[in-house]
C-alpha cells in the first residue's frame, strides 16, 4: 500500500485536472467499500464529480485550519450521509486527514464511521447525518449563524432525491425561502433511484423543479456527471446568492457512474463488490493520485 500526498485545492484547477482527481476518488470509493465489504458505492460514484468540483474548486476552505465553527470558510453538510465513501475520499485528498486512513473505513475504532459523525472528531465533518431529512435544517442553521456573525461565506448541502420523501425537508424548504436564507446552495442528487428501486416506483417526487420553485427557491438544473457543466452551474449558483432566495441545484447523476456494471440500476445502492468485481471496477478507473 502506498500513501500519496494530498492534493492542494485551487480555484484555478481545470476541468481535466478535476476529472483526473475524480477518477482517483472513484477508485477510493470502490476500494473503501470492498475493504470492509459494506457501504454504499452507487450514490458515492454518482456524486464523485460533484464532490471533486466542490472540494477542489468551489469551496473557500482551509483544511489545515479546520475547526468546528468554520468562521470565514464555506461550509458543507452531507444530508444523505450513507454516501460517506466519496466524502471521505475528497476530505482526505484535500488534506483534512491522512489519505491512508481511508483504509479504516467502517472498521472498529475508526474515525471513518459507516455514516459520517462528529463523534469521533474527524476533521471536515461538522454534523452527524444519515437519518435522512435533517441536513437541510442544519445547513439553514449554519447559514443563519453566518449571517449573525457577519460572515459572508456560504453554506452548501447535498441531499438524495429519495431523501426528499422525508417531511422535514419541506419544513426546511419553506423556512429557508420564507426567511430569505440566501447564503445557502443546496443540491439534490437526482439519480432517480433509492434502495427499493426507482424513485418513481417507490414514491414519485412529481415535478421536482416546480415544487422547489413553488416553495420560493431559485432553481438550477445540471448534469452532475459533466465536470464542465458542474463548474458552470456552481458559478451560476454562487452568483445567485445574496439575492433574497436560497439556491437549489437539481443535479442529474447516474448511480454507479464510472463503473459499467454498477450503472443503470439501483442494485449497487448499498452492497460491496467482491474481489473479481473490484478488479473489474478498478480496471475502468485510472489511478491518478496513487492509491492509499
Amino acid at each position: 500500500m502506498t500513501s500519496s500526498p494530498s492534493v492542494a485545492t485551487s480555484p484555478e484547477t481545470t476541468v481535466s485536472e478535476l476529472q483526473r482527481i475524480a477518477s482517483q476518488v472513484r477508485r477510493d470509493i470502490v476500494r473503501q467499500v470492498h475493504g470492509c465489504q459494506s457501504g454504499h458505492p452507487g450514490g458515492s460514484l454518482g456524486c464523485a464529480d460533484y464532490f471533486t468540483a466542490l472540494y477542489f474548486h468551489v469551496l473557500r476552505h482551509d483544511p489545515a485550519k479546520w475547526d468546528m465553527d468554520g468562521k470565514d470558510q464555506d461550509l458543507f453538510f452531507l444530508s444523505n450521509g450513507h454516501i460517506s465513501p466519496v466524502w471521505y475520499s475528497v476530505l482526505a485528498r484535500s488534506g483534512y486527514f491522512p489519505v491512508k486512513e481511508l483504509a479504516t473505513f467502517r472498521k472498529i475504532n475508526s474515525r471513518l464511521q459507516g455514516i459520517p459523525t462528529t463523534h469521533e472528531g474527524l476533521p471536515g465533518v461538522r454534523m452527524a447525518s444519515g437519518s435522512l431529512g435533517q441536513g437541510l435544517s442544519v445547513g439553514i442553521g449554519a447559514a443563519l449563524a453566518k449571517k449573525l456573525n457577519g460572515d459572508d461565506k456560504l453554506v452548501f448541502t447535498l441531499h438524495g432525491d429519495g431523501e426528499l420523501q422525508e417531511g422535514q425537508i419541506w419544513e426546511a424548504a419553506m423556512y429557508a425561502a420564507g426567511n430569505k436564507v440566501d447564503n445557502l446552495i443546496s443540491t439534490v442528487d437526482y439519480n432517480g433511484r433509492q434502495i427499493d428501486g426507482d424513485v418513481d416506483d417507490v414514491l414519485p417526487l412529481g415535478d421536482l423543479k416546480a415544487k422547489w420553485l413553488a416553495f420560493g427557491w431559485d432553481v438550477l438544473e445540471t448534469n452532475g456527471n459533466d465536470m464542465d457543466a458542474l463548474l458552470k452551474t456552481f458559478a451560476t449558483a454562487k452568483s445567485r446568492t445574496g439575492k433574497g432566495k436560497p439556491v437549489m441545484i437539481l443535479m442529474r447523476t447516474e448511480m454507479g457512474q464510472g463503473v459499467d456494471f454498477m450503472m443503470n440500476s439501483h442494485a449497487w445502492h448499498g452492497i460491496a463488490p467482491n474481489d473479481e468485481q473490484r478488479a473489474s471496477a478498478l480496471s475502468q478507473l485510472e489511478e491518478t493520485l496513487g492509491d492509499y
Binding site: 468546528m68 463523534h119 461538522r126 452527524a128 442553521g141 449554519a142 449563524a145 456573525n149 422535514q168 419544513e171
Partner: protein
C-alpha cells in the same frame, strides 16, 4: 408553618422567559427559536428586545431542532421553545442525531410538561419525556421546581457546554425557592433535613413533597426532602448520603413511573446501596382533561399519596 413560605404564585414558564431575557442582555451568542408558541413559552420579551436573535420557525419542530443544531456551528447558543411533547417525542430522532450524537450545544426548553398542563388533556400532557431524554448519551436533564429556580436554571444552562433538556410547566405554582439559594447543575438540594425517610422530588411535586413533610411531622415522622432538580447527571452522592441515614425512599414526580426520577434513583440505589423505595408517579397511563389539582389528585400525585407512600415504605425497612 413550613420553613419555605410561599413567596408568590407564578408559572415556571415565566421563570424561563425571565431567565432568557437576562441571558439575551448578558450573552450575545444566545439565540431563541420557537415553533409558534412564543406567548405560551413566555419568549415574547426576548423576541421584542432581541428581534435579530429570535427565530420564529412556525409549526415545524423537526426543522427547529435541526436549525438549532446548525446554529451552534458558528458559536451560537440556541434555546428552543415549545411544549414538552413537541420538544421530545415529536422530534426524538432529530435530537438524537443532530443534537445529542453530534454533541451540539442546544438548550431544549420545554413547557407544559406533565399532568399540570391541565385541560388540553392527554395528547399534550407528556409523561414520558424525562425518560426519553435521560436515555440519550450526553444529555443533561433538568426539572426545576418553581419560578425562581427555573429562572436560575435557564441562566445556568447557557454556561454549560453541551445539550440540555430543561422541563417546566404551565400553571401558576407556589414560589418558595429564595433567589439567594444557589443553583448548581448536578447538585441536589436538601430542603428539609430528616432521619426517617428520604423524599426525592422534582418539578411541581417538590412543593407537594414539602407539604407532605409537614403532614408527616405532625405524625412524628422525620422526613428529609431533597429537590433533585438535575435528574441527569444524578447527584448520586446526595442520594446515598441521605438514604444511608434514613434507610428508605419515596420518589415524587409528574411523570410516568417508568423512566423518570424514580428509576434514576432506583438505579443508583440498586448499584450502590439497595433500599426500599416507593414511587409517587403516574401509574403507566395517559392523562386526561381537568384542572391541575384535580389531575394530581386523581392520578395519585397529591400530598396524601406521598404520606401514604411513606407509611408503606417505612414498614419495609
Amino acid at each position: 408553618m413550613s420553613s419555605y413560605p410561599i413567596l408568590d404564585q407564578k408559572d415556571t414558564r415565566s421563570g424561563f422567559g425571565a431567565g432568557l431575557l437576562e441571558l439575551g442582555r448578558s450573552n450575545p451568542n444566545v439565540v431563541g427559536l420557537c415553533a409558534d408558541l412564543t406567548g405560551s413559552l413566555k419568549m415574547d420579551a426576548f423576541q421584542k428586545e432581541f428581534p435579530e436573535r429570535f427565530f420564529q420557525v412556525g409549526i415545524a419542530e423537526a426543522n427547529m431542532m435541526g436549525i438549532a443544531a446548525g446554529m451552534t456551528i458558528g458559536g451560537k447558543i440556541p434555546f428552543t421553545g415549545t411544549f414538552a411533547n413537541f420538544s421530545t417525542g415529536r422530534v426524538y430522532d432529530q435530537i438524537r442525531q443532530s443534537i445529542a450524537y453530534a454533541g451540539k450545544n442546544v438548550k431544549i426548553c420545554a413547557s407544559h410538561a406533565g399532568l399540570t398542563l391541565g385541560e388540553d388533556g392527554a395528547t399534550h400532557q407528556i409523561l414520558e419525556d424525562i425518560g426519553l431524554m435521560r436515555m440519550l448519551p450526553g444529555m443533561t436533564v433538568i426539572v426545576p421546581c418553581d419560578h425562581n429556580q427555573t429562572r436560575q436554571a435557564t441562566i445556568a444552562i447557557a454556561a454549560h457546554e453541551g445539550p440540555v433538556y430543561l422541563r417546566f410547566g404551565r400553571p401558576k405554582w407556589p414560589v418558595f425557592i429564595p433567589n439567594e439559594l444557589p443553583f448548581e447543575i448536578g447538585k441536589a438540594q436538601r430542603l428539609i433535613e430528616g432521619t426517617d425517610v428520604s423524599l426525592f422530588a422534582c418539578g411541581h411535586l417538590v412543593w407537594r413533597t414539602l407539604q407532605a413533610a409537614e403532614e408527616l411531622k405532625k405524625n412524628g415522622v422525620s422526613a428529609e426532602v431533597i429537590n433533585v432538580h438535575t435528574i441527569k447527571p444524578l447527584d448520586v452522592d446526595a442520594v446515598l448520603a441521605s438514604v444511608g441515614k434514613t434507610g428508605c425512599v419515596v420518589t415524587c414526580e409528574e411523570h410516568n413511573r417508568y423512566g423518570g426520577l424514580g428509576d434514576a434513583i432506583a438505579q443508583a440505589l440498586a448499584t450502590h446501596k439497595p433500599a426500599p423505595q416507593e414511587y409517587v408517579a403516574v401509574n403507566d397511563s395517559f392523562g386526561e382533561s381537568g384542572t391541575p389539582d384535580q389531575l394530581l389528585q386523581k392520578y395519585g400525585l397529591d400530598v396524601p399519596d406521598i404520606v401514604n407512600a411513606v407509611g408503606r415504605v417505612m414498614k419495609r425497612k
